[in-house]
Amino acid sequence: MHDANVNRAAPTFAPLTASAVLVNPVGLHARPSVKLTQCAKGFTAKIEIALAAEGPWTDAKSPVKVMRVKAPQGATLHFRVAGPDGEAALAAMLALVHDGFGEA
């Protein structure tokens, strides 16, 4: 239903990828970056974000690095997730973006 494109993982935690469009005003700015990294830190999986499907990839658990991405509103945010709780982590990340980080 979303524009997500989830590749099913093998048991060895091959990376899952998906993407979503940033709908909240002014993009991945201060407050959304904090929310994103806080959410990412709740999972053991390695979680990375990028502005293009081919990277470069950024650690989604580092607010400093996430802010360096400077992702604007309307940008497509790509996720790459690998780990035992990867599917739950990816779902949580996509839900945050689709929900516009709870911003009006």
Binding site: M1, H2, D3, A20, V21, V23, P25, V26, G27, H29, A30, R31, S33, V34, T37, Q38, D59, S62, P63, V64, K65, M67, R68, K70, P72, Q73, G74, A75, T76, H98, D99, G100, E103, A104
Partner: protein, 532 residues
Amino acid sequence: MGEIHLTGHPASPGLAIGPVAVLTHAVASRAAKGDPAQEAAALKAAIEGAAVELADLIATVHGEAAEILEFQVAMLGDDALSEGAYEAIAGGAAADEAWRAALDVEIAGYRAADEEYFRARAADLVDIRDRVVAGLNGADAIAKISGDSVVTGDDISPSTFLAVDWTRGGAIALASGSPSSHVAMLARSRGAPMVVGLGPLPWNGQPPSLALVDGDAGTVIFDPQPETRRLFEHRMAAANAAQIAAEAGRFKPALTANGRRISVLLNVAAPEDVEGLDPAICDGVGLVRTEFLFEGSRGLPGEDAQYAVYRRILEWAAGRPVTIRTLDAGGDKPIPGVTVDGERNPFLGLRGIRLSLARPEVFRVQLRALCRAAVHGPLKVMLPMIAVPSELDRAKSMLDAEFAALTAEGIACARPPLGIMVEVPSAALCAEDFGAAFYSIGSNDLTQYTMAAARDVGDVADLNDAGHPAVLALIARTVEAGRKRGVEVSLCGDAAADTRLTKALLATGLTTLSVSPIAVARLKAAIAGMTA
């Protein structure tokens, strides 16, 4: 010494007068530096100390202010911020120099950003940098500023702003700074007038003692002459009285002096326009522009992204009607990949509904998102730049087809009523011939197409008069067509907010006006004084 007039950019509205408080950078020198291990330990302690200070400060503030500081805490707690500094310390640098250099690189990255919002975050990084440096030097991070002052300097940090009691009538006047900074947001929410971008402050040594700040015009006068000051105080008193009177009526329904009820709706250009606004000030949303979704060079917005935005506005309106206008690109609003470049006369070319019908693949996505959003509240959809009934009929068939397709797919949706903008004289003259669910008069375009004069062409701007009898006659004719067909007529152009025209507009029979949020209180006050 004569008075000094400086002009910058308004960042937070209002007028203020007060003694000048100049922000200074206390440069305390640090005790002798130790070996790399000692320096690394000193930096670690200073970073941890800064985080504790910020946590204490967060406990004293709420909402937006707390979130801004939480952002600083999150950044400070991230090793990625300090790793460069620790590397330099290992190479023999002093802790304060290493930290400052590492943060300056980060700050330069923000200042180089394309988007104003990210550039404005540089002030937060400066704040973090200086708090840690102060900790290393054993100095107080924040100078004490009295809340009735006009705070003046190059820029002001969020921490400094939050340490001031702004209820005492102070204001901010900055040589640089940004209207998008966290401090500007805070100043707007706390009602502290603020002007940024004044340029280098023209004094050496002794600063001026008094300043007048006009946060509406973006001007500051230092050391005013007594007469200048007297006039400014007079303006402040008048503005305060008018604001108190208008604010009191903001939440009441708009009634004319003889009891006629006028619906006051909001114009919304982007979702953040209604952020923090109480929907009780209006009777609904008369115009949501959707161009903001398509701006920039980031490709067209998907159905889900559009749906999320439309739904959020409907939920904000809490049951009040919301009218969303389909994409009104072209004319003076080019959108890469959608509009046609190099049209000889874009205002008479492929714009508004003409463009949507010529780009059905783009239009269909918007119609689907609107049908899905319609289940979340009373949504109405209007089409811009309609000239002939067949345009409405074609759009109607497309809307019906998308509604049917969504229903067949089992996706929650509703078919919103479809109305038209009346902004081309042909639509006003023949309004009765359109099978529209409602009419919304776009007075800006209706005026320019009726008078054949653009308002941004100085030589003909005086012809661009929405109060001209020809324009008012077209409005009256549209109102009459709505009455005959039993459908609502509203007006959503700038004329609705021009209180000099309110009497004439109400005389045409209009009972619904749509204006930007900032104009609501003034319009309601103007309506209350009318016997129309």
